[in-house]
Amino acid sequence: MLEKNPVIFIILAFVVIMIGTSVTMIAPFKWINGPGDRIAEVKPYTPLQQEGRDLYMREGCNNCHSQTVRTLASDVERYGYGGSYSKSGEFVYDRPHLWGSRRTGPDLAHIGLKFPDPNGAWHRKHMANPQSVVPASNMPSYAFLNKALDTTYSERKMKLLGFPYTQADLDELKGKSEMDAIIAYMRKLGTDIPVKKVEAPAVVSAQSNPFTDLKAIEEEAEALYKKHCASCHGEKREGTLGPALKGSAKPEAELFKLIAQGVEAKGMPGFSGSLDEQKIWKLVTYIKLDAK
């Protein structure tokens, strides 16, 4: 019968594929993005951020960058930047989702926490020429984004997506470049949910630095520096986006505090979330005593 009637066959095949589809694809609509998933702090995109998001899609950044911090400890440690793993509620305004399937480059779900600088100086330099910041990077140069942003559809996008916006939000678009938009998007990622900052010890006296002998820790400190600091202070600490860090004249306690808490408004991130006290002290010793 089945082997003889193509109409019945097609109907049956349809029914069979709809079983798994109903359970794993249709039924979940009932729960996902429902009230249980909502996170009050998560805000929709502003017109500028949404333009940036659309540019991210146009350039296919998702082919190299994922946007989900998985629940694995190593993911949270590497890409959480002080925040937690990704929750469903963080993505309710994402149409489409941009989780990606490859990490040719690092995850960007919380990249806004990693580079808090409101001017996006690091991004600007990096996007225009990634290798000038991270020499071995294989990310393409996006200097061509330094051109005027097309805002023809910005307002209509807000309406279509149902996002609230004000005249001030629209005015913010004036005179912006595509680069500004994509950086505005990068700066928003991961920053809605407040992150608990580990407070740097309130009073740090010079004596509390346990590392007085540079030789003993130099190798380790240099590695830490290369990993966390070189992209802004230069491979040789000569100073690029941030100032030179060779034999700093600042007192040790102040250096400790600077590194731990950062100067976010000026583009220096705080490292208390990603580096423990011992490591910060090692870096202090390194930049204070090593003047080569």
Partner: protein, 466 residues
């Protein structure tokens, strides 16, 4: 006795020719993007950056080479299996035109950055509509041919073809649902985690309905044709078919393990992925047992080599895939180069091997002549095999190496390697992969030359006859 049925093969030839052209473009772009990963200076212009070229590569591969040749070859085998001529050769011609317009516009718009970013559903809505129309026209033609068939029994191949017709339609339409902003931009109706879940329900079943069911239909048809051995077990084919199309639809979330997608969906995906080994190997064993007692054909018949190597890679692919669906293993290799290793064992080792065999066979039949050079076909076989093996093996090594570096921690629980250290470690493999692509391309060129010469040969002998 009625006169023998006349088969319409013009569109078969047309689809095969164009699919080879798009396939070659996919491979050339594949080589270019693999070079760009090693030498980023090769991102020379906005429309030639990696982020825009990679979707061109995957779309030209899956839609241009895969679907293009399946349409052609399905027109071919449906007519033979039903002993009926194609329902509408005119419609087939229109479908071919639309197909080429569609794929060419896809390449152009993707280069311009018009991209929905959902993998294998990147095309913006006007083109998605064109793709849907192409598929429906093709489906109607095949279905009507089956409907008015003269051979009552429907052979297994026709089952897989019909499942693909329905399956692809449902998947493609749902994953493309969106609201247009203007002609070149739309936003999906699904958001965030929902969108991800729909995407990978689609993504994995694109593997089922495009990269598994159609090549299986070809395999079941061409293996008996090429070897002269009847298929080992029709009943095993039936059981494997229904369980395959039942189970596949549950497994999409194995692409989303450890993400915010609800745990129970992930667990179901994991369980069904492992169960999928059974129906997948049902087909593999059916193939192997068909060869029972005739294994000498592996040496004597160049087409058997392609088919049996292809089904062997399918077998390996369907063991590796379930392994990747296990949470702990996924934690290790997800996001790494291991996955492109898996992908290209499937697309190059399985899908392309079967298409090569089918194209050689149908070309000689349609041209009513022997292949121009068996020796060349043998060389082609070895080059594409070696190219693919180097590709997959280097990427598996790179994936394991990067995966273990990314997870390595110090005694205090902090991470041992920075992201960049892991990337520098796998750079050499990226360079080897580019070379493997070039080896593959050389094989592909020999294939094209051989097919071209076979056509030429038959044209000469036909004019001689006339």
């Amino acid at each position: 006795m009625s006169a023998p049925t006349r088969y319409f093969d013009d569109s078969v030839k047309g689809f095969i020719t164009w699919s080879i052209i798009w396939g070659t473009i996919s491979v050339v772009v594949g080589i270019l993007i693999s070079l760009q990963l090693a030498w980023p200076q090769l991102n020379v212009a906005p429309y030639l950056t990696y982020g825009r070229l990679r979707p061109i590569h995957t779309n030209a591969g899956i839609f241009g080479w895969g679907i293009g040749s399946f349409i052609g070859l399905f027109f071919y085998i449906t007519q033979r299996l039903t002993k009926t001529s194609l329902w509408s050769p005119g419609l087939a011609r229109v479908t071919l035109w639309l197909f080429n317009i569609g794929i060419a516009s896809a390449a152009v718009t993707l280069a311009m950055g018009i991209n929905r970013t959902k993998e294998y559903a990147e095309l913006e809505w006007p083109l998605a509509v064109v793709v849907a129309i192409i598929w429906v026209l093709f489906s109607i033609n095949v279905f009507m041919t089956i409907f008015k068939r003269k051979e009552e029994q429907m052979y297994i191949s026709l089952w897989y073809i019909m499942a693909a017709l329905v399956g692809v339609t449902v998947l493609y339409v749902v994953n493309n649902l969106g609201v247009p902003l203007h002609l070149f931009k739309s936003y999906p109706i699904f958001a965030g985690t929902n969108d991800a879940n729909v995407q990978w329900w689609y993504g994995h079943n694109a593997v089922a309905m495009v990269l598994t069911a159609p090549p299986l239909a070809l395999f079941y048809y061409f293996l008996p044709k090429v070897t002269g051995n009847p298929i080992f077990s029709h009943r095993m084919g039936i059981i494997a078919f229904w369980s395959l199309i039942f189970m596949y639809l549950w497994t999409g979330a194995h692409h989303l393990l450890w993400t915010p997608v609800p745990d129970w969906i992930q667990t179901l995906a994991m369980a069904f992925s492992i169960m999928l080994i059974a129906p997948s190997w049902g087909a593999v064993m059916n193939g192997y047992l068909t060869m029972n007692g005739r294994w000498d054909q592996m040496k004597t018949n160049y087409l058997v080599k392609f088919l049996i190597t292809g089904i062997t890679f399918y077998g390996l692919q369907t063991l590796q895939g379930p392994m990747q669906s296990i949470r702990s293993f996924s934690a290790f290799i997800h996001y790494t180069d291991w996955v492109p290793g898996h992908v290209h064992m499937g697309t190059l080792g399985w899908v392309s091997m079967i298409i090569f065999a089918a194209v050689y066979y149908t070309t000689t039949k349609m041209c009513e002549t022997e292949i121009y050079s068996v020796k060349l076909a043998d060389t082609h076989f070895w080059l594409v095999l070696v190219g693919q093996l180097i590709y997959s093996i280097t990427m598996w090594i790179a994936g394991v190496q990067q995966g273990s570096m990314l997870l390595a921690t110090n005694t205090d629980g902090t991470l041992h390697y920075s992201f960049m250290e892991t990337m520098i470690a796998i750079m050499p493999y990226y360079k080897i992969r580019a070379i493997s692509g070039i080896i593959y391309l050389v094989g592909l060129v020999l294939f094209i030359y051989n097919i071209y010469k076979t056509y030429q040969k038959s044209a000469v002998s036909q004019t001689a006859k006339a």
